[in-house]
């Protein structure tokens, strides 16, 4: 098993090449439908990174938007990547995120008079625990009776979505005389932003309040470090990887496979739940209808795969996806190209990462199967999970 470092250094060519490939194909699609690819991409670049802006967009503002977008992607990306290492496919990061945001909101509203040193840890821990619980259901069902985590996490996503809607549309969390939103969490439950939310303070030409980068960024970066440390420097990490390689071998090596599965899901859920809590505490300050249409947990699957399951990879992939998200809007406003193009580009990047077109086209293709586990962590996980107990239930 290659180390994260080697992943980060040696493995960069494929992702970068894939991104280039995706943009080339995307450009053809734009041109074929009568658009101008160059102005489209200029809009993306401007929106994502504040570079090459045609209409004088503010660079600092665009960067801050990108950062706000990628913070939850990092957290949920980890929540998908960690179970991947154990051969588990966590499609449920979204549901876990929602559980975390619900818990954060409930605590932040109920105890809204508490001061920040007490309330802030409460909402963050509460969010993480709720996410862990949500993922834990899938983990326990998997470890004890073998219920497939893909089914259970999909079901749990739906249950969480309907729970959110129930709570805020006419339900117990609904803002009195409001609709489709909860009451706001107390001031003590809010993560501070790096710049004061003061409209009279002008920074980089704009009121300071427009830069919404919050301290959740530090939590996300810490989460990445925890993820890498856990996976490569602890015995639990070793067990997770061993289970992912082969459950049977892991069992012979004396590893408690069911326990490892449950613990992996609990930790993953905690990351996702924390992402949801951070989103409420750092950005939104209340639970709203937007969480019903939220897709962060699904984008996270792409992020984890694009990041090759490594900490550095997840960081870079999150930045890319966050920048694409922020860039899409500017592209549509400036160039009139539908921001749906962003999804097309994301898909093309994934295709080309997965297929490793470049290696094939570059003639360095050897006639052997690309080792799935080292190439992309999603591979073979269905099978690894499958090989569990010989002769059970299968015909």
């Amino acid at each position: 098993m290659p180390s994260t470092v080697r992943h980060a250094a040696g493995g960069m060519a494929v992702p970068i090449g894939s991104v280039v490939f995706a943009f080339l194909v995307g450009g053809v699609i734009v041109a074929a439908t009568g658009g101008d690819p160059l102005s489209a991409y200029a809009g993306l670049l401007c929106g994502g990174f504040g570079l090459a802006c045609a209409n004088g967009e503010n660079t600092a503002l665009q960067l801050s938007t990108t950062i706000v977008f990628f913070i939850p992607l990092i957290m949920t990306g980890v929540a998908v990547a960690l179970p991947f290492r154990a051969g588990l496919f966590n499609i449920g990061a979204e549901g876990q995120l929602l559980a975390g945001s619900v818990a954060c909101t409930v605590i932040g509203v109920k105890f809204n008079t508490l001061p920040a040193p007490i309330l802030l840890p409460m909402v963050l821990v509460g969010g993480a625990l709720a996410g862990a619980l949500w993922a834990g259901i899938a983990g326990v069902l998997k470890a004890t009776i073998g219920a497939h985590e893909v089914v259970t996490t999909i079901m749990l996503n739906y249950v969480a979505q309907w729970l959110v809607r129930f709570l805020i549309v006419g339900g117990p969390l609904q803002l009195p005389h409001g609709f489709s939103v909860s009451s706001p969490i107390g001031a003590g439950a809010r993560l501070p932003t790096f710049l004061p939310n003061d409209n009279s303070l002008i920074i980089f030409g704009l009121p300071a309040g427009v830069y919404r980068v919050h301290t959740g960024l530090l939590i996300a970066l810490a989460a990445l470090a925890v993820f890498a440390f856990l996976l490569w420097r602890t015995s639990l990490g070793y067990e997770i990887r061993a289970v992912g390689q082969s459950q049977r071998a892991a069992r012979y090596a004396g590893i408690n496979v069911p326990r490892t599965i449950i613990v992996t899901m609990l930790i993953a859920g905690a990351f996702s739940g924390l992402a949801g809590a951070i989103q409420i505490a750092g950005v939104d300050h209340n639970l709203s209808d937007k969480f019903f249409n939220d897709t962060t947990g699904f984008d996270a699957i792409a992020v984890a795969l694009l990041g090759l399951g490594s900490a550095v990879g997840i960081l870079l992939a999150s930045i890319l996806f966050g920048a694409l998200h922020a860039g899409g809007s500017v592209m549509q406003a400036d160039a009139g190209i539908s921001s749906s193009l962003v999804q097309v580009l994301q898909a093309l990047i994934l295709f080309s990462i997965a297929a490793n077109f470049l290696r094939v086209l570059g003639g360095r293709f050897r006639r052997r199967p690309a080792a799935p586990a080292s190439q992309a962590p999603g591979a073979a996980l269905m099978t690894e999970a499958a090989k569990a107990p010989p002769g059970d239930g299968q015909t």
Partner: protein, 342 residues
């Protein structure tokens, strides 16, 4: 293209405009007004109010010297950045479509006090849902209950006179989500239908969806099974399934927001919420320097809400009653409720 050439073109254009301005009054503004439109997550092809807002913008583009740019929001996370984007570029008017953007408009309008904002179906609020009453925000509200009442009169009269397809004295409405703009329609509908035909039963169901026609169709089929003769859809793109279900079952249906005459032959009328008129009006006011903060309500009296008769020829007495009720609502002697009556 070089700067000098741009400058030259600009000067020629300016000269032409000055020439054109001579003699004509009022003088056309030489300035191009920049209007930014931010859709909610329904997107431009929602066959509902985002679409209508864009129609209003397009009309303004042909009538005034207006540059209109549109950004679709893919998630609620996009509202603040999208509104901010237009604000930082000094747009003359930034329009947010839909009440979901209320807090976003509240936040951004506070940061950019010199930029004019308008919001459809809502106000610029704080996190507690309290209208911040920023002097640069105009709220464009609609009396959906007025439009709902008009189609309710039609449904009630048809039932009372035995002129619906089956006349079982049951009518119904399919809402998208149970939120005020939806329930206002249903409130007016139920109120008016009951007023015309006190024996009528009004079923109300929700699809919890604004996009998936299959879901609304099933809700509609259930209402048809429960003997509904006339179905009112209040669910945007999802509600197209209601119109279709009515057509297949041989009962009447009523469209919403825009005139949905062409969606299905079963559509006898549409309750209109003229978001296009509202958007156009907001832009016109900015162009004419008549922007006003606060609420602007579009109702049946100012023709911002109303109804369209579609694939049916109404008996004369029903038309008379319609005109009668319309006049009374306009005069304020009848007021449709905004909450669904029990």
């Amino acid at each position: 293209m070089g700067h000098s050439r741009l400058k030259f073109l600009g000067m020629v254009g300016l000269a032409l405009m000055l020439l054109a301005a001579c003699g004509s009054s009022p003088a056309p503004a030489s300035k191009t007004y920049k209007i930014g439109l931010v859709t909610d997550t329904g997107g431009l092809n929602d066959k509902s109010f985002n679409h209508l807002a864009d129609v209003g913008l397009e009309k303004a583009k042909t009538d005034f010297k207006v540059q209109g740019d549109v950004v679709e929001s893919h998630s609620g996370d996009d509202y603040v950045p999208n509104l901010t984007h237009f604000a930082t570029l000094n747009y003359d008017l930034v329009i947010g479509v839909g009440f979901l953007m209320a807090t976003a408009v509240g936040t951004v309008s506070g940061q950019f006090p010199n930029i004019h904002f308008a919001i459809i179906d809502g106000a610029g609020t704080d996190a507690n849902g309290v209208d911040l009453k920023h002097p640069n925000v105009q709220s464009l509200y609609f009396s959906e209950q007025d439009a709902g009442a008009m189609v309710g009169v039609i449904a009630g009269m048809l039932e009372k006179e035995g002129k619906s397809k089956k006349t079982q004295h049951v009518i119904s409405a399919v809402g998208g989500i149970s939120i005020p703009p939806v329930n206002h329609y249903i409130a007016g509908y139920k109120w008016a239908a009951t007023m015309e035909d006190p024996s009528i039963k009004v079923l109300v169901g929700y699809s919890n969806d604004f996009t998936d026609p299959a879901k609304c169709k099933n809700v509609a089929n259930n209402q048809i099974s429960a003997k509904s003769d006339i179905l009112f859809q209040v669910a945007g793109g999802c509600g197209l399934g209601v119109l279709q279900a009515a057509g297949q079952a041989g009962v009447y249906s009523i469209g919403v927001d825009a005139d949905q005459k062409d969606s299905d032959p079963s559509v006898i009328a549409s309750a209109l919420k003229k978001v296009d008129v509202a958007t156009y009006t907001a832009i016109k006011n900015v162009v004419n320097g008549q922007f006003t903060a606060g609420a602007l309500t579009f109702n049946i009296a100012n023709d911002g809400a109303g109804y369209a008769l579609d694939n049916i020829t109404l008996p004369a007495d029903i038309q008379t009653e319609l005109d009668n009720v319309k006049a009374k609502i306009k005069a304020g002697t009848l007021t449709p409720p905004s909450d669904i009556p029990a």
